[in-house]
Symmetry: C2
Subunit: 195 residues, 2 copies
């Protein structure tokens, strides 16, 4: 039951925001009453923190694959960005939650990004600097800033997924989401690799 509540809260927080979601709505969507929910989670804010922690646990599961991708033989780039895309597209609520938390609680999110994302960014930056020294990667790339761009791109693409189709011409073409993902990978790649 605790996990059903977590799942429902994740879905509703992602769709409607923390302030836009009442405890009664979460309870109803799992078939119980509000006081029963508060037996499993002491307060609404604790439920929010647990939702975040649950997502970070999945992030920690994905990290080994991410690091393996960063140190493997070749095409590390596609592997790393591919793992990021996989992580967020596997559950678009993850991207929406991150964006909402960044907007609603920037200070709290800064600390989380520093402790859970920045170490991995620095690893990728080391890889980029080595590639630059070898001439494989553009010398003018700012490694940290480049990583921020790619993260922005992946998270924003998934979070705004429902809206981006509005900027494409009539529905005769390929799946807009697929086109968008492909172009995102191309943009990130062409901005990094020399030719």
């Amino acid at each position: 039951m605790r996990e059903q509540i977590l799942a429902a809260a994740t879905r509703l927080f992602a769709a409607q925001g923390f302030d836009g979601t009442s405890l009664a709505a979460i309870a109803q969507s799992v078939g119980i009453r509000k006081p029963s929910l508060l037996y499993h989670f002491k307060s609404k804010d604790e439920l929010r923190r647990e939702v975040l922690e649950h997502m970070l646990a999945h992030w920690n599961e994905a990290l080994p694959r991410l690091l393996a991708a960063a140190t493997s033989g070749q095409d590390q780039f596609s592997a790393i960005v591919g793992e990021m895309v996989t992580f967020f597209t596997a559950d678009a609520d993850r991207a929406r939650l991150v964006v909402r938390e960044v907007l609603d609680r920037p200070d709290e999110m800064r600390e989380l990004l520093e402790s859970r994302v920045r170490p991995w960014v620095e690893l990728v930056c080391d890889y980029i600097r080595k590639g630059q020294a070898q001439g494989r990667l553009h010398a003018e790339t700012d490694p940290e800033a480049y990583c921020v761009q790619v993260i922005n791109l992946v998270v924003a693409s998934v979070a705004t997924h429902d809206c981006i189709g509005a900027l494409f011409a009539g529905g005769t073409g390929r799946d807009p989401a697929r086109r968008n993902t492909d172009e995102m990978l191309r943009v990130a790649r062409d901005a990094l690799f020399t030719r």
Copy 2:
């Protein structure tokens, strides 16, 4: 007074979200009471729509510059993206509001994007296709999807401005926001132009 209310509502909606901002808080920040605010705006939702319209009015003011940039002699690219960056960095609340509305009311935002942004995107796409025919721009670029990436990048960079510094190493270097903007322009440029 009406404009003071609009300004306060814009700031608070951007910072705390629509559901996270009470009418009393908006009224207090301009030194009046809630019923007085409801004399100027019939309902909270009307106030929200007016805040959006106010931002779109500024967008319409910026469009001529954007279109002029798109059809000028050379370096159209830097001019267009520069105008977009100018528009959103001139008031970061614009980017935050757009992101919040996309998350909170995707259907409403789809219509807005179709009517107010897509025509301009199609113009830029025409420019890209001509450049591709001339060999100046990468043939493999998907014009519509590329525009979506650039918009995502600009809006997300400004909206998450307070948090991205957390992913940079210690404060010895240049201004993170400046580094981020420069890299964003470089990424967008290198993904478009042949060399």
